[in-house]
Amino acid sequence: MAELKFSRDHEWVRLDGNIATIGITDHAQTALGDVVFVDLPEAGRQVAAGDAVAVVESVKAASDVYAPVGGTITESNAALADDPAMVNSAAQSEGWFFRMEVADPSELDALMDAEAYQAFVDSEA
């Protein structure tokens, strides 16, 4: 399985071929608290890196989820509609948000690896 890359907006990306799977990081789900609703993008939507494409709502607040790279949405995680708490229990696996066909895989080079992301999180604390 490909290595995860991380954005400064606390999303993770896993690239398989030219399809990227995207979710929010374990750090992000901890900060949000109990997730009660997720609004996910429609397949076919074209997005640029940095576009707000999904919303995650905890009891307390709503947060945007951004596309870490540009491309076309191919699929959203329908299981989150019935079980949004999966974002808390499995943020970096079954709790993925959406998949997209990446327009330019070199955009992933701008993202952090796990070690750099951890350092980034520590610097924000």
């Binding site: 608290g33 109990d34 609703f37 609004d39 919303v55 905890s58 009891v59 307390k60 607040a61 949004p84």
Partner: protein, 365 residues
């Protein structure tokens, strides 16, 4: 952080319990513990939870004519309040807005007040400015306030303080929990049975630990407190009521004493009287959005594409297992069942005006 946050006497206990602390009204307060808001909310409805609300203002009014003096600032009937009883009331502005909402208890020789943290300075200045000679306001900054809430709270507390179980809803008594002198009122902000306990700050941690050691008790933070009070249909000052909202618009006319409605001698009486006679332009209503997405404060409310109001509080209600909100709508759209659209992120979410509380109150009788 630019400003130094104040701490309550339970600050070190919160840290020990793993609380996530957030700034609130100038204080570092626990928004949640490791269990999380959802679990803390449900634990309150099912069992017993302990909230630190020591940021709230506590004060006492002493002297002959204290009740009459307070009535200069509120439309509540304070004089009718019997010793050992507490009531909820509003401080009003000359323009007919709400300066704050508060609790007042008659302790026999004095009145005891509980004020919102964000408003206590404003309130006390207003009260002091209205006091006649012989009546004094004593602020009690060295006292802590704990809320022990939920159906199991009073039964569990009775092991330490048997007389608390005999208190009726909104009853108040000076008593002891173990050997700690406390002032207990059978009240709260969750819709559940429970008590609020005023205690000397230097005994607060001992008391909190004793309460948390009771069977089934757990700590709960401000996050759960907010979702609990919203499900219970209770207003939050600064969100649902403020200096621009009147008691009539807020649906809080029940806090205006019958006698006060013949005297009309409280701040803002002209606006209140006019709105009672002709109806207010807008009304606070409960709102149930369809689906699961919460509509938060400041969400625009529309009917047929036209804006008719705004959400003032909105969350996901853990006991409802769905979103709930309250807000103000033009009076013509305030009837229960009225279809509304909530404009969330550019989309219209269908919703209905609904009676509050969303979760029935279960206060002691």
């Amino acid at each position: 952080m630019a400003e130094t946050l104040l701490e309550t006497p339970l600050a070190s206990l919160h840290r020990e319990l793993g609380a996530r602390m957030v700034p609130f009204a100038g204080y570092a307060m626990p928004v949640q513990y490791p269990a999380g808001i959802l679990a803390e909310h449900l634990a309150t409805r099912r069992g017993a939870t302990l909230f630190d609300v020591s940021h709230m203002g506590q004060a006492e009014l002493r002297g002959e004519g204290a009740a009459e003096a307070l009535e200069r600032l509120t439309p509540a009937d304070v004089r009718i309040l019997k010793p050992g009883r507490q009531k909820y009331g509003l401080l009003t502005t000359e323009a007919g807005g709400i300066l704050d909402d508060f609790m007042v208890a008659n302790l026999g020789d004095r009145l005891f007040l509980v004020l919102n943290a964000s408003r206590k300075d404003v309130d006390c200045a207003a009260i002091e400015a209205a006091l006649p000679a012989g009546v004094t306001l004593n602020r009690l900054p060295d006292r802590a306030l704990l809320a022990f809430q939920g159906p199991a709270a009073v039964p569990a507390l009775a092991a330490l303080a048997p007389d608390v179980a005999a208190l009726p809803f909104m009853g108040v008594a000076a008593t002891r929990i173990g050997d700690i002198p406390v002032l207990v009122s059978r009240s709260g902000y969750t819709g559940e049975d429970g008590v609020e306990i005023s205690v000397a700050g230097d005994r607060a941690e001992i008391l909190a630990r004793a309460l948390l050691a009771l069977t089934g008790a757990a700590p709960a933070g401000l996050g759960a407190r907010d979702s609990l009070r919203l499900e219970a249909g209770l207003c939050l000052y600064g969100n649902d009521i403020d200096e621009t909202t009147s008691p009539v618009e807020a649906g809080l006319t029940w806090t205006i004493g019958k006698r006060r409605r013949t005297e009309w001698n409280f701040p803002g009486a002209a606006r209140v009287r006019e709105e009672l006679e002709n109806g207010p332009a807008r009304l606070r209503v409960g709102i149930l959005p369809e689906g699961r997405q919460p509509a938060r404060a400041h969400t625009a409310i529309a009917v047929g594409g036209e804006t008719v109001g705004e959400v003032t509080s909105g969350t996901f209600g853990p006991s409802l297992n769905g979103p709930c909100a309250m807000g103000y709508v033009a009076r013509g759209h305030a009837a229960d069942g009225t279809a509304l659209e909530l404009m969330v992120r550019g989309r219209a979410i269908p919703a209905r005006v609904a009676a509050t509380p969303f979760i029935p109150h279960r206060y002691a009788r």
